[in-house]
Structures are given as structure tokens and as C-alpha cells.
Symmetry: C2
């Protein structure tokens, strides 16, 4: 991609109304633009990152055996009356009347809708277990939207729902999602600690939040430093290995970690003082096991192995896909801008000519651009006739992992500069060596 | 994918309330399920097809130089007051009040929002031309939703918007999208004829609809049979070739084709009688060139090459992505079910065991399933312990291009059956030959 043909608007000034660093950087680097209170358009730079995160979430759900589908954004109020949540949900639910005065709503979550869908199809214990998921826009009418996409009103979420015939099955489904989440966050390049959590309006008695540590976090968190040593995502663990998954769950559960909502001073005091860690964190995922709360209220029943009717046990599992863009930036930035983890970077490499009007520089840049493109490396070439310093600052702000910097002097001695955005290390090397390094 | 672990519910009975064949088949084969009037959930089978169509649309937009982004579904009413369309739009717009009583709406289209976004960034003629697009859910509150996803209320649409400094540029942007559409529909495996169309509430004086011919179409269409001979998508044509694109436009325009909205009896009478074709058609895309209608109303201006201010010329370009699922079925089905074009089939191959309890059959199926999976061929294996006939009927209904049918008798003589869904041709061949054929 050539910057001169792209739509990558960068703001010169830091936006005054943004309070946290991810919000500031997302506006300045042109990832998003607010179109109404708490509602954002995703400009091409932000869109690319959002799609990469979405795809990693999808791949790890698929690997865990969850099945993708897609539910609509607008729901009938009647569905929510069946579960009793229509009146309970409060003003965060965006309520709508259509042209025939029917009561509708913009879905904040989908327990009701999916339970209603599967009750037409799941008739026997042989139709279970199943975990279904979708990645869809949702709406919560926050009274005071703030912090950009971290607490916006319209947001992209992956939500999965599991259906099992018994408690043991439901526990295994929960553990599979727990592992899928650990793997997802690791691939995204962030450390997210699972913490026992309150279940709130979703219900149930077992729940974990996944918290990214960041000084700007919304919750206070308390955890045992032993967490840092646990191999949370267990490289060799197979999703079919029920005992192995339960052992992982037990280890996660027996190591203290909690948000202020569930913090237990008695258990905390048992953690050795030198291992107690406190800080602030951002919730990026939340999983729930809530038994038959929705299946019972909505009449989902299947025949059991012995011929009697069984009410399936359910769980639900959310990841804030759009929120993750902000959370990753909170966890990975410096004074010059965003520092993307490789897996979610909008492009891997940025090419900068210090003097676009120097024919040798432009020629070298074209050559590198074409070679990387042909090698399947995602590359953004700043081919604009701007000051080199401004172009470098723009690349730093946008946070691509690598910069190839091309200047007339270096070229005269046969080298370009390769800069690592995270470390700031710069190295002079030949074009061929740079290409080899970046194509690896 | 194993059917025993999937969520692919098939209805035994033809749904009584569905009037057209695509709606019937989408419900019966389990592509979608209605969740409220004119609102559908996409079950895994339908979701896979929807994503394939979306990806082809995306790739052809990218190839034409359009840049992807994503705008939100909920918009502020104030945006639409700027263009004057808030009052003009009528009851098809889903109007919403949020908790602070602010007037919002669920976007039916995005001319206003994108014009407002780019006016902050596009300052000079050097920032143009640009064509931006997104693929996002939209809502039109149809008074009487019907025909399933063909005339639903919540629908997925690709909409692109072009910005140019002058009329010649705008014409070229229009021609690029025209070619991208022809290429998109060809890749999707359907013939869509561009027809001069009325511009309606979008405005402007140049517009084409893309119509798929089908007896259940909503519009009457009239066209010159010469259309069938034109090489519409011009294999070698490059998007930078302005004269070549204009020649394509001229040839398309000079061959008569119109819907009843724009039908011109005088011009029609000039078409040789034996070349006159009439029928019914389904609109799957609509492109518009509307000059400065929105840019002028909303104050989008850039400095021109001579320093004066210029109001950019715009166009907008829509493809009904979810509607295409229905339109493709209307154009490609038989008495037994759907016949997917290869490019959009949910899986390329279905494996059916006639007797799942026969160990040799199950073993052969496992082997074929694994080999195709490893070869990167998308495959669905019906491993359920059901009657062979019912399983074959299910595969026909779901419309996968190829079926591998495995029975004890054939296996005894070393063969399986390979069935082409479209032609119905069946052929006995060895497992190795079948694998070679299907991996090609």
C-alpha cells in the first residue's frame, strides 16, 4: 500500500477531549473517528487491526470446536420477556419501536436469542454438546460513554454459548473456553490474567474475567505473583483431554487473583507478602457458567439417555473485540505512539524515503516495496513528498513493527536503515539483507 | 467438518409461509432462521456462504483500488439533517431515541456519514481521488418484509463512495466500480446485467442497477440479446486504463437494457424484434453518480490545482451481500435443492456413508475426509447413523458441488461413487482417483 493513495489521516495535535492514552493515540493515529457520543467509525488503519484481532479470536474458537454463525443486531423485546430480562436490564438497553410500534431492541448480548434458536433443533442428548459463537456488533447505551472504544456504546464482541446435558459436560465446555481465551490473548501479544468474577446480570455461580494489567484500568486487581510463572496456555494440551483441562482450571483457580468486586481479604492474607501484586486492569473477556437459568426459563429441553427430559446446562463466553484494540494500545505504547505486537500490526513493515525527490531513494523504495509485496509481507510505503522527519514520526505513531528508512547518503554507500519500533534499535544493512530479514 | 458435531438443522417439511423458492430452500436447508419479522439469524450453513460472497466482493473492491473501512450501524439524526434527508427518508428509516432522548437512526446507507468523515481530512485536490467502502449491516424498516433475505429489514451491504475533483474523474471512478461489479458477479457464478436505472432518493443523473434474471424477480426487465454476447468483464482490462473503461461503459450503455422504471418504448422499438428479451429480474447491485449533491450540502471542499476551492464530485456503489445468497439460489437450484456455484459453496465436497455401521465404509470415509482436509479441500462428512437415502437427500438439499458416496458393495470391488450435484452425473472410481479429482 502506498500512503499517497491511502486514507490514513493523522492528527497533528493531541485531541483535548481524550482522557486515556489509547483513546488519544487511536484518534491521533487515525484508527477511529467519533461519529456520535460513544460511537466510532473505524478508519482503514483501525479497521485492519480490528480484523486481525477478530481473525485470531475466530481461529482459536474454531480450534476449540466452537461453531460460527451470525445473529442479527436487532431483537424482539418478546424474546427478553421470556427470560424476564427485558424489564430487569435497565436503561443500558437501547429500546426501539418499529413502524408498526412493535417493541424491539439493539442486542447487548444473545443468551435469549440463541436459546430460542436451538430449542427448535436440539431434541436429544445426542445433539449435545455444542458451543456456538458469533462475532457481531452490539450496543449498550452507556450513560456516560468515555475512553474511546474502551467504553463505547456500539462495540464488536465475540460471544459463544455452550449447551451440555449435565454439569460435568458444562464444566468441560467452560474449561475449553478458558483455554481458548488464554491462547487467544497470548497470540494477540498481551498478558491477560483470569480472575474470579461476580456474575452480575448474566447469572450463575462460576465466572472469570480476563484482565489486562494497565495503569488506566477500570478495576483494582489483586493477584499472586505465582501467576506469572504458570504456563497458562499449556502448549500441548488437547481440547479433548478433560482431566488435563480440569487440572489447568484447578491451578488457575487455586492461585489468587481477583478484581475488587470479588476480592477476599482472608484469602489474600494467606498469600505470602512478597508475592502480593496489586494494580489496575482492563477487562477484555468474561466467561460464565450459569446452569439452566436460560434453558429453564425458555423451555429448552432434550431427551436424555434414559428417555426422560433434560434441561441443558449453559455457559456464555465474551471477548470484547473492539475494546481489545484499545487494551492492546494501553499495554503496548511509548511516548512516540503505538507499538503493535506483530500479530495485530496493520502492516509489518513501513518504508520511508527521507527525500522522495531523490530518484535513487524512490527507486530503492519501489524495489523494496515490490519485493516485500511479492514475498507476502504486508507493507506500507510512505511515498509522499513530505519532510523525512515528519514521515518517521508518523510511522512511529502508527506503530508498525519495522521501518525501512532510505536516505541518499546511505544509498550511496549501498545501505538502508532498518529500525525496530519496539526497541528503537537501528541497523544499517544492504537492501538484500533487509529483504531477507523482513521476509523471514 | 463432521455432521455429527455440526449445527446443520434441516427442516423435513417445506415451510408454509415462504413464497419464493430461495426463501423456502434457505429455511429448509437451514441457512437462516427468522428471529423477528424480516430479521434473520444466519445458521452455520448460511453463514459460510455469506462469508464467501463477502470475501469475493471485498477482493474485487480491493483490486479496483477501493479502500476498506467500517462505519457504525447507529447514526446521529443530525447528520441526515445536514443533507436534508432526515425528513425526506420516510418510515423505512428506523428512528431511535437514546437514553438522553437524542435522535438516532439505524443507518440505511452512509452518504452523509462518510462525507462528514472525509471533510475533516480531505483538504487538497492531491488527497483525491479516493473510493472508500465498508461491508456492514443496515436496516430498512420495510412495511411488509417478505421473500426471506431478499426483502428483509436487517441486511448486509457493501457500499462504496467515490470522491473526485472533477466530472472526468467521477466518470472514471464510476467505470471502475462498473467493471468491479461485472467481475464480482462473474466470480460469484451468476450473470448480472447492468441496466440503466432511476436514481430515486440517492439523487444524481447516472445510475445502473445490476439485475440477475429470475422468474421470481421483483422488476420486469427488457434487454437486447446482444448483451449475452458482450464480454462484459473484459479479462485484460486494467483499472488505470481510462479509455478502455470508457469504451466498456459505452458498449454497455449503447446496448438496450432497462427495468420497467426506466423502460423507453421508443428505443426498445429500435431493437431488432428477434433480439428483444423480456423477463423478470432481481436487483443485486446499484451504482450512482450524483455529482456534488452531498458534498455541497455538507460543505466538503478541497483546494483545487489553481488554488481555488472545489466541491468534490461523488458516487455511491452498493451490493446487497445478504440478498445475493437468495438471488444465487433463485438462479441456481433444482427440485432437490440448492446447486451452489463452486465459488460460494459452503463446502466443496460432501462425504456420505450409506451404512455408517459398516466398518469398511466408515474407515474409507475417515480416510477420504482426512486426505481432503489435508489437501485444503473444504469437506463435510455426514457421519451420522441415519438412512443412506435421507443423508443423500440432505446433501442434495444443501447443494455442495460434489458428493462422495460410500457403500459396502462398491468398497468390496474397490470403488466409491462420485456425484456432480449440478449435472447429477455419477461415476464409480477408486478412492485414489476420487481424491485426485477432488483435490485438483
Amino acid at each position: 500500500m502506498r500512503l499517497s493513495k491511502a486514507y490514513l489521516p493523522v492528527l497533528k495535535e493531541s485531541p483535548a477531549d481524550a482522557q486515556i492514552v489509547s483513546h488519544k493515540l487511536m484518534l491521533r493515529a487515525g484508527l477511529v473517528r467519533q461519529t456520535a457520543a460513544g460511537i466510532y467509525a473505524w478508519l482503514p488503519l483501525g479497521f485492519r487491526v480490528l480484523k486481525k484481532i477478530e481473525q485470531i479470536v475466530r481461529e482459536e474458537q474454531d480450534r476449540a470446536g466452537a461453531i460460527e454463525m451470525l445473529m442479527p443486531t436487532i431483537q424482539s423485546a418478546d424474546l427478553w420477556r421470556e427470560s424476564g430480562r427485558y424489564d430487569a436490564y435497565g436503561p443500558e438497553m437501547l429500546r426501539i419501536k418499529d413502524r408498526h410500534d412493535r417493541e424491539m431492541l439493539y442486542g447487548p448480548t444473545n443468551e435469549e436469542m440463541l436459546t430460542a434458536l436451538v430449542r427448535d433443533d436440539m431434541k436429544s442428548y445426542r445433539d449435545l454438546p455444542r458451543t456456538l459463537y458469533h462475532i457481531q456488533w452490539k450496543f449498550r447505551d452507556e450513560v456516560r460513554p468515555r475512553f474511546g472504544v474502551m467504553r463505547g456504546r456500539e462495540f464488536l464482541m465475540k460471544d459463544a454459548y455452550s449447551f451440555d446435558v449435565d454439569e460435568a459436560g458444562a464444566r468441560h465446555s467452560y474449561n475449553m473456553q478458558l483455554l481458548a481465551y488464554l491462547r487467544t490473548f497470548k497470540r494477540l501479544g498481551i498478558q491477560a490474567v483470569p480472575m474470579k468474577a461476580a456474575t452480575g446480570p448474566i447469572g450463575g455461580d462460576l465466572s472469570h474475567e480476563f484482565i489486562v494489567l494497565a495503569p488506566t484500568g477500570e478495576s483494582k486487581v489483586f493477584y499472586d505473583a505465582a501467576f506469572e510463572a504458570i504456563d497458562l496456555d499449556r502448549a500441548g494440551l488437547d481440547y479433548g483431554d478433560k482431566a488435563g483441562l480440569q487440572a489447568m482450571f484447578d491451578e488457575v483457580s487455586s492461585t489468587y487473583a481477583a478484581t475488587d468486586e470479588t476480592h477476599d481479604e482472608a484469602r489474600w492474607s494467606e498469600v505470602a507478602e512478597e508475592r502480593r501484586r496489586t494494580g489496575r486492569g482492563i477487562e477484555v473477556g468474561h466467561i460464565f457458567s450459569f446452569g439452566d437459568k436460560y434453558s429453564k426459563a425458555m423451555g429448552l429441553k432434550v431427551t436424555g439417555p434414559d428417555g426422560g427430559m433434560v434441561t441443558p446446562m449453559m455457559g456464555s463466553y465474551g471477548v470484547g473485540v473492539s475494546r481489545l484494540v484499545g487494551a492492546i494500545i494501553e499495554a503496548s505504547h511509548d511516548d512516540n505512539g503505538i507499538v503493535w505486537p506483530d500479530a495485530v500490526a496493520p502492516w509489518k513493515v513501513g518504508i520511508v524515503t527521507m527525500r522522495q525527490d531523490d530518484d535513487a531513494s524512490a527507486g530503492a523504495a519501489e524495489k523494496i516495496h515490490a519485493a516485500l509485496h511479492d514475498a507476502g509481507v504486508e507493507v506500507l510505503y510512505d511515498d509522499r513528498d513530505e519532510r523525512g522527519g515528519a514521515k518517521l514520526a508518523g510511522m512511529d505513531l502508527m506503530g508498525l513493527p519495522w521501518q525501512v528508512i532510505i536516505g541518499p547518503r546511505g544509498l550511496a554507500s549501498g545501505v538502508v536503515e532498518l529500525k525496530n519500533r519496539r526497541t528503537g534499535d537501528r541497523e544499517e544493512l544492504s537492501i538484500e539483507s533487509a529483504l531477507t530479514r523482513l521476509s523471514a
